[in-house]
Symmetry: D2
Subunit: 178 residues, 4 copies
Amino acid sequence: MPSFALEGPATCTTYPAGARPHPIVVRRTTYSLSMHDLDPAAALSVVRVRVRFGETDLMGIVHHGSYVSYMEVARIEWLRRRGLTYAEWAAHGVHLPVVELSMRYRAPARFDDEIDVHTSLMEIGAASVRFDYRLVRAADAMLCTEGSTRLACIDARHALQRIAPEVAEILRQPELGG
Amino acid sequence: MPSFALEGPATCTTYPAGARPHPIVVRRTTYSLSMHDLDPAAALSVVRVRVRFGETDLMGIVHHGSYVSYMEVARIEWLRRRGLTYAEWAAHGVHLPVVELSMRYRAPARFDDEIDVHTSLMEIGAASVRFDYRLVRAADAMLCTEGSTRLACIDARHALQRIAPEVAEILRQPELGG
Amino acid sequence: MPSFALEGPATCTTYPAGARPHPIVVRRTTYSLSMHDLDPAAALSVVRVRVRFGETDLMGIVHHGSYVSYMEVARIEWLRRRGLTYAEWAAHGVHLPVVELSMRYRAPARFDDEIDVHTSLMEIGAASVRFDYRLVRAADAMLCTEGSTRLACIDARHALQRIAPEVAEILRQPELGG
Amino acid sequence: MPSFALEGPATCTTYPAGARPHPIVVRRTTYSLSMHDLDPAAALSVVRVRVRFGETDLMGIVHHGSYVSYMEVARIEWLRRRGLTYAEWAAHGVHLPVVELSMRYRAPARFDDEIDVHTSLMEIGAASVRFDYRLVRAADAMLCTEGSTRLACIDARHALQRIAPEVAEILRQPELGG
């Protein structure tokens, strides 16, 4: 589990300190493990979700906000398949909140579709990780959405936590038994 | 209301046609109105929302997916304040689905916070528009989240619709009575 | 699929007709199949869901609104296991909207818990069905929530549809291959 | 703020104790303030919400789960209008989780509809309160949904808390300045 507080966590300087009781700011560091350090095959998990009725909207398709949920489900499962139970981290006050998120829609998914969320760890930073996602409809391999999230590692007081070497090592592993 | 179908709507060519019954792909065109054609003051509306209990998560703060909802509320209100009722468009089968979305978190918002969503139209494309957002806590002006969405204009069959000149003209106006 | 329109569908008489373009009112009929016509063992399916992070709230437990979603997932899967694909019905404009819902909370579920939704068809009415639910945490058999929903059968114009005998017959069957 | 722990809180006896780390069970007591002790006019607040796009489903109407959210918004506003800020209670670990919920649908609401949630306190129990709701479309006074929720008063360890006399007194008051 991440265990060392970053000295001098990056802070945003454009707002008065009093206005930001718990800023979550992740500086892009130069000493992170970048993509070329990660094995793409080991870094990939495919997690299947099925579209719920209430996740559609009046257009008759999946509401774009629902993809945020699918990506969340997928990365938590990604961690579980490598032996990391996020619920245990949360119980200890360690969290991985989303600090950056982007999505690009390609084609609509529909109610009851099974969606394979291809989830790849792309970067291990000093106090953050980045996952990329490709959401593909299982029935016909149609790409519905692409996305990316950066997650900060923080403690219960919302202070940035350095990702410990032993955690980084686990993150570089393929799925257990895979 | 958008009324002219684009001839030869842009389509993604990297996937077999059969796999994409309703692709939503928006090509960045060169003939769009870009930011320097828009008056920043006229293009801005500030829409207030209050954080609901169910929009928080076990971290005790607003779940990141809730911001997707706040941005949606804000841009629909942005249109209304210029005389465009999105519900009427939807009733006629014209929609503005989100095709690109990005968010960057700055600081956590909490239950019951009032959030001012500063919403600016940034670009009017041939068949899409882009809004940028700054979500600011009303009580202390703390910036919680920044975001951006690109919306495609489509018809009931999910075909791209050119944004009609009269609609583009309305989009360039400030709030009614403002 | 339900195919016969009810003659003289029940309508609510306490509101002016103009105010109710699409009333959904289900009259309790005397000619429905009641519980004693149903085989409790055949009427039961157990559907497992896992609590998503975004389904919790700041109390650190599952938000009560999330149980609505779990019950929905479970009854759609209940139908699927008997050969009825609700998505096909929806594509044909036949729907089973929830017209009554009740829940009673027993104990809190938490993030990442696996919940077994014990779902039983309790009644087949002329134009509605009722399901009861027991949501039980898989790890320790703790009862988290009990619930019940009545679903009306309606067409695309929101007119009540009599449940056809062949559909009622299918509803009385156990899971396929079970 | 509620301040006295109930001696011998009611507990469910049909499940082994080890399986229920945090049971939330509210016994209907005989010593509660019942409806005839409450002034119906004072007990009523009307809170307006507007239907969000993402709160609809593929039927083109408001998803039934969204009403759960509207009732929650309304009762938190009901408290605020009497000087009780639920967010402050939550910050002190005092909560009012929903332990019973029922809804009956009358007619569908649609995207962008303004809904007036008529919210009435119906009962003040020893450690719980009950609110009833009538969700009425503002444009034409159409009744969309009726509902009821019972809320338990608990502390941070999920132990039932007696509702203190001074809180009960506030709950019996009309809206401030009303």
